[in-house]
Symmetry: C3
Subunit: 272 residues, 3 copies
């Protein structure tokens, strides 16, 4: 699976079409995400061509999930009121068939988020996205990583990711040196990207929002999730090539997300 | 009203004086604002020459509003505890005659913020600031926009803005391609600015904080609000001219707010 | 004490060793901090070489403090649930001997944070860090500053800082034109830095997190705190030299924190 033979599952043309569709529709993406990255996540969505709405209070979160084009539920700082908003949003997304992404940040030994992650993983997310340690922990195969960092490789999480996909019905994406995207049967690796994404906060979290944006553009969640990861990786590579550290990388990354054209994505993405 | 005849209501000299007064006084501006933009809003205030204080917890918000030079109440993510803090701050601002700005983010169909927006609009804000859809919704003339985006033009919101100003006693400002500022009798349009402000999160929200800063510098809320919008527009234009996308625009915008001199504002602002 | 005779208390070699140790260990630093600066604080830690974890909800904050390498408790926006998380974290840090930093933001007249600051100052923090007005207020020698700004000089807070250090058992650090670090007996001044740190939000708050990161690298809290301040000051100076305002300063500051080498720190730091 780690070979570099070009993927036949997702074609360059499908990547270009997915980005073109996102730009054409400006999808309304609702994010219930952690306090650390809410600003960066909104800016990533805006730069990519989406329309973010961070509606997370009870009494509003469910109503909005019914009309949003996509939804992100990220468990980074799950206070009581936001957790109630998440329950509303997850229920409404299910009822309205709004595609949604679960990001089980630092799941494992931390009790509040681990309980919520298990509850939401069983509620029919369209995509579950995390690093290798998070996916292993959610799949029940480990105790989790070191805080928000992964202590496991993507390769070590492959079997757990496929099992979690089959059990939950979700596409499961594992971020790492090369990202893995699987629906439990089909598996695609997205190469490239930049380690600098691990030196800014929200590098992984905002990818969850981008997945939600792409999910709104097409019928196949695997293709949409691969396109989201490829788009993110190519933009990160371009930013890393012109920046001088994590501060300028974050700025250049937003500029790259904004300027990356569908045809350039198709040409630069490396899948296997 | 859309003609470009120079405004006789607010002069270039008044704009320069307002910015000079802001820089000279470093006004203490209290912000109860949404979780997405609190960092950017504080940085915009600091760059402009103000002193931000994001004091929003009950037991403190009211005490602080009594000593602040200006106050912003922004309804973007109104959790229960912050809403209680807002009630304290609004009451204390009224009692202490602290000028304050209401930003009814995404008011319309979302229940929690819509109820709060109506309550606060009736509590004597000095300025109400929003996009066209928000002003139409708060005036009772529509159901609101698409998430935090406007789906209406400034021109379409003019009558509603003037009616809302007369009913509430507030100056009402409507952001768009050209901004509208009205007290229900006098009306000024502020031209210029940059569409890039809609591609970063907080582009509108931080303007509410700038309005609060300018309100502290002079006796006429209409002049102060026009000056705030003109300052913001000229700085955005300058940033857009040198940036390469939304990431660098946000950085250059903060630098422009910091370096824009009163005389340059007077020369570059376009009012009608 | 204000003379520029090189400090014999902390040597250039100790500064280099402290930064080298931080980079080698990637310390896991838990931050319970205010909503305004949580993103910037995490990015500052990542740029410096730490691993931030903003775990602040009750039910998790205590468990995490027991395994973290360092902890920051910052009182900038102390809502009820976060305050409960802080109590958990402070108790667990004490039990596990996790070094921790208290930042009593705007302590003085604001009731909620002032009560919490007194409670936590009595709970054995390793370091207390603030501006002169905050340290004077916490020591009981004044009513505090103007919002989050200091209205007092570092020199005026020296006696209060030393008394607070002796009473609390903490190293006390006072930020200003030159920073003061004292354990109640030994006193070191850290010169340099940039006033631009006062024109971006979080300039002081993120320094508290950097202190927590350095505390995890060595046995002497005074040396670690001095090293943290010297590292921060040199990086700020370098950023100020190449930036054009507060927006670009923040970006360049993150890049400087990332690229500053231990040997360069030893050479550029000015202590007395």
């Amino acid at each position: 699976m780690e070979s570099m033979a070009p993927s036949r599952l997702v074609t360059p043309g499908e990547l270009a079409d997915a980005l073109g569709a996102l730009r054409a529709s400006t999808p309304l993406v609702q994010c219930l995400t952690n306090a650390v990255v809410t600003n960066f996540t909104a800016n990533v969505l805006l730069a990519a061509g989406g329309s973010p709405a961070m509606v997370d209070v009870p009494g509003e979160a469910g109503d909005f999930a019914a009309i949003a084009a996509g939804l992100l539920v990220n468990l980074g700082t799950p206070n009581t009121e936001q957790a109630a908003g998440m329950r509303e949003a997850v229920a409404a997304a299910g009822a309205a068939s709004t595609p949604w992404v679960l990001d089980p940040v630092a799941v494992g030994s931390l009790r509040v988020r681990t309980s919520l992650a298990r509850e939401f993983a069983a509620a029919g997310p369209t995509v579950i996205r995390g690093n290798a340690s998070e996916i292993l922990a959610l799949a029940g195969a480990s105790e989790g990583g070191r805080g928000v960092e992964s202590t496991d490789s993507v390769a070590a999480a492959t079997d757990a990711a496929m099992a979690l996909a089959r059990r939950s019905g979700a596409v499961v994406a594992v971020s790492g040196e090369a990202d893995l995207v699987t629906d439990g049967v089909r598996t695609v690796h997205v190469h490239g990207g930049s380690a600098m994404l691990t030196r800014i906060t929200g590098g992984g979290c905002a990818l969850g929002a981008i997945c939600a944006a792409f999910l709104s553009t097409g019928p196949d969640p695997l293709v949409a999730t691969v396109a989201a990861h490829a788009f993110y990786s190519v933009a990160a590579e371009r930013a890393a090539a012109v920046s001088h550290g994590p501060g300028s990388f974050a700025v250049d990354f937003l500029d790259s997300l904004y300027s990356l054209a569908p045809a350039d994505l198709a040409q630069a993405a490396v899948l296997s």
